[in-house]
């Protein structure tokens, strides 16, 4: 069980780093993108994919544990 906790905490640390990286990228697109271009769409697509991956991973982990 301890090993599983360590793996999950490493994954959560990765997610935290990933969030910082994503915020930096999204900030750039939001701040320097031009009105009417693809930057807002890219932010939306990136956020949806990221959330989908994280949520599905956590659900899989939960299902395996239960």
């Amino acid at each position: 069980m301890n090993t599983i906790l360590i793996i999950i905490s490493i994954y959560l640390c990765f997610i935290a780093a990933y969030l910082i990286f994503s915020i930096a990228g999204i900030y750039h697109l939001w701040r320097f993108g031009y009105s009417g271009d693809l930057s807002k769409l890219a932010i939306l697509a990136y956020s949806i994919f990221s959330i989908a991956i994280i949520v599905s991973t956590l659900s899989l982990v939960f299902l395996n544990l239960v």
Partner: protein, 245 residues
């Protein structure tokens, strides 16, 4: 084109009009997409392995694989975002006063260089290679006056057309004594103003005409004129009558 009412670069002045917003050709972004697709192959293999042989693995190994795959997928997505920001925010802007090169390399390097239109001496365009020739993209080199380095637009679509437009803008800029060139909107406003003035004049003339035609005197004159015309036709013209045809 896009709605360019907002400021495109920090030092853009209020009345400065943007004529061209150029990004690198989409073919420059293709390597990022290909790398992303190749990076998905191990994910597919891991998913296949987990689905068909997952039950035989221990819980810890299974969870480790799931989280590793997830982290790998997120890294791939993050790299795609990095590539997109570097490609999409790297733009060249041509206004009625200057040329601006905004260079974006990743998230933490952004450089803005400017060149005034009056400093432009010559503009060259070149297309070099198989893909650039087929997809019609290439470089535009703007030679500058003085010791300044040449300005270069790399891998942009339609380089010949863009170089021609820059030359036209430069000439227009010089013709106006290096001052702000009127943009299309100003021209339209001028034309609209002239049209309104003409309309006003026409209305005035019509008004005057109406008054002339409606007065008793004019009716008398026009009556005599029509009579004279008839007389001319029949050859019975009275002596001393002025004929106005």
């Amino acid at each position: 084109m896009k709605n360019l009412e907002d400021k495109l670069f920090p030092s853009q002045e209020k009345e400065e009009k943007v004529f061209l917003l150029i990004r690198k050709h989409w073919f420059n972004y293709v390597p990022f997409v290909l790398i992303g697709l190749f990076m998905l192959i191990p994910v597919a293999l891991a998913a296949y392995y987990l689905i068909f042989y997952g039950q035989s693995l221990g819980l810890e190994v299974r969870l480790t694989i799931i989280m590793l795959v997830s982290a790998y997928l997120l890294t791939t997505l993050g790299l795609q975002l990095y590539g997109f920001v570097s490609y999409y925010l790297d733009v060249y802007i041509v206004t009625d006063r200057r040329i601006v090169d905004i260079e974006q390399a990743g998230f933490f390097h952004r450089q803005i260089s400017e060149l005034h239109l009056r400093q432009v001496q010559d503009v060259n365009a070149k297309i070099n290679g198989i893909f650039p020739t087929l997809l019609h993209y290439g470089d535009v080199i703007i030679q500058t006056a003085g010791e300044r380095e040449n300005f270069q637009f790399f891998s942009i679509p339609n380089p010949y057309l863009i170089s021609k437009r820059i030359i036209n803008l430069h000439e227009h800029h010089l013709e106006n004594g290096g001052e702000q060139t009127p943009c299309d909107n100003t021209k339209y406003e001028q034309i609209e103003e002239e049209a309104k003035n003409l309309l006003k004049k026409n209305k005035f003339i019509d008004k005057v005409r109406g008054q002339v035609f409606e007065s008793e005197e004019s009716k008398k004159i026009f009556g005599e004129l029509s009579k004279n015309k008839e007389n001319l036709k029949t050859g019975e013209l009275k002596e001393g009558t002025e004929v106005i045809l």
